[in-house]
């Protein structure tokens, strides 16, 4: 009983310790969305990730960087070497210095990372009315309930409720902490035409880009969950055996 009580107390402590952090960040409740990558057997969805990459490149990339992701990583999404090479070559990457001591631009190669949209933070703020568009490499891990938050944020633009005074150049978003966001609504119905012919509704784009960015933040998610299955299965059997051994050894004593 006491053992149980202590274990329960420890568990409750962990639970308690977490809960207020969630609340304290912002009072907005974020509904949870059904993601294929959640749960113990979760996996990504290659088609959605590929469409999400297209959304990132055609919409987000104008302002948001993805500096931790290299073109070679796109092999995870099911692209082959040639596709990655030609995709990388769409980008210009600064290299150098050459023999004259000058920096020069060249086509991207697989080992390059996504180039930043702005040369530095000040340039980014200058171009965005003083706001800094965050890098998206880790965005789903850097927010509470990251994927849900991102999805609902992208779809959460509304007219401000009566009595809310909007600051200059700000937009009302139901899910953004403080509700005033500098980012204009990024997704427009049919703004892009998907390579696979999927209709580009705003929901579809928001979901696809969340799939892509969740992968970008945690590329080893699938490997992690698959390894977890094996490790825990092994440990369950091993601990079962240890239990039998312990009973046998202690049988002498009782």
């Amino acid at each position: 009983m006491k053992k149980l009580a202590i274990i329960a107390a420890a568990a409750a402590f962990l639970g308690l310790a977490q809960a207020p952090v969630v609340q304290a960040a912002e009072e907005v409740e974020i509904p949870s969305h059904d993601w294929s990558f959640s749960g113990m057997f979760g996996t990504f969805d290659r088609a959605k990730q590929q469409r999400g990459l297209q959304v990132y490149r055609e919409v987000c990339a104008a302002c948001h960087g993805l500096r931790l992701v290299a073109f070679r990583n796109l092999a995870d999404l099911g692209y082959n070497e040639d596709e990655i090479r030609s995709l990388a070559a769409d980008y210009q990457v600064e290299d150098g210095p050459d023999e004259n001591g000058d920096m020069f631009m060249r086509d991207g190669v697989a080992s390059d990372r996504f180039p930043a949209p702005f040369p530095n933070e000040n340039a980014a703020r200058m171009a965005n009315n003083g706001a800094l568009p965050p890098d998206l490499s880790l965005i789903t891990k850097a927010r509470q309930q990251g994927p849900d938050y991102l999805y609902h944020l992208l779809l959460g633009y509304q007219d401000p409720p009566a009595g809310v005074e909007m600051m200059d150049g700000m937009y009302y978003n139901a899910y953004f902490p403080g509700h005033q966001i500098a980012m204009a609504p990024p997704l427009m119905e049919g703004a892009i035409s998907y390579a696979d012919g999927t209709p580009a509704t705003t929901q579809q784009m928001a979901e696809d880009v969340t799939y892509f960015l969740t992968w970008a933040a945690e590329p080893n998610l699938e490997a992690r969950k698959q390894m977890g299955m094996k490790v825990i299965l092994f440990l369950l059997i091993f601990t079962g055996l240890l239990y039998a051994v312990k009973r046998k050894v202690w049988a002498d004593l009782h």
Partner: protein, 424 residues
Amino acid sequence: MSGFKTNNRTIKWLDSRLPVFSTMNHHLIDYPAPRNLNYLWNFGSLAGIVLVVMIITGILLAMQYTPHVDMAFDSVERIMRDVNYGWLIRYMHMNGASFFFIVVYAHMLRGLYYGSYKAPREVLWGLGVIILLLMMATAFMGYVLPWGQMSFWGATVITNLFSAIPWGIGDALVTWLWGGFSVDNPTLNRFFALHYLLPFIIVAVVFLHLWALHAFGSNNPLGIDAKGPQDKIPFHPYYTVKDLLGLGVFLIIFAGFIFYAPNYMGHPDNYIEANPLVTPAHIVPEWYFLPFYAMLRAITFDIGIPFTGITLIDAKLGGVLVMFGSIIILFFLPWLDTSPVRSSRFRPLYKLFFWVLVVALLVLGYVGAMPPEQPWVTIGQIATAYYFAHFLIVMPLLGKLERPKPLPASIADPVLKPGPATNQ
């Protein structure tokens, strides 16, 4: 207990010159342990194993990590993305820190419940408190290394605690700690060096802790001393296998977190690179510091001489003193507890207060995570007051006032034929 015996001549030769084998045999194989230890006694060896896991994963991480403010964050992400199994090693280390504290807190509460700190084990307990302090320092500095927002602001807030020391010493001390005028590259570098060093000092103190333990042997759930060989059993195989079983259960839970909720005990803000110009909306320390953080914030008032307007200790210094005092007080526990009976099993009143203390700690943990607003401030103050009252008032008085239940004659006695007084 038979001594160490072998027929292998090489081992004999070595052992007569450097008695490693007979020492290991003495402390790990033949070592006599009370026959009635329950599963709460697993947490000691478990803590040792977690320490080893932390050191091994930590060394591998250190080989890939760059302690520079411009590169630290990206080098951690490189470990997560590019290094073979880097994500696994980092998640083991990250969650290992939390689990280390879970195991050590359980170990301490067990000691508190069964009176393991009482004579003749005062030094054993004191060494344990030193280990806790070293662990806290190590964990705090380790949390700074990924150089995320919480790393940076946590370091800023905690190091600023020292500025509470009056007469200008505090500010000089903080500048000295930082090696500059804010938390910056020199701070990160020294924290990395110390984060690498301290675990090995912990290992050394763990050896002293074990030395002190083996001087008198383990306490046990009955809290009475062993009367003879019938009360003891050899450590191997009985407790080696019991510890291994406990390890197996522990590893299942540990693996559950590593593989399925690796960031549950972390904070999302630490996946944003440190920015000295932007403070996160709500700075919270890691969960294992929350009760102490709550005590720090409980002191919202100056302490002075009444009616004179003279302030002796301002709120800031008071908070710092209370926070450090909450751990320092543990050193005096063996003398604050005046009861001759160790185990709570025979102390019905103390048992009650023990659980009140546990509740107070849980409440403090919760309050530590809340913003410093009402009603949390008052609740935190009440819980802090209880924490200190428990050690300074309840424990000394209870030892005098409480009438303990009758103790069994020996360990073997109630184990072999359970009596009504102890079978609960």
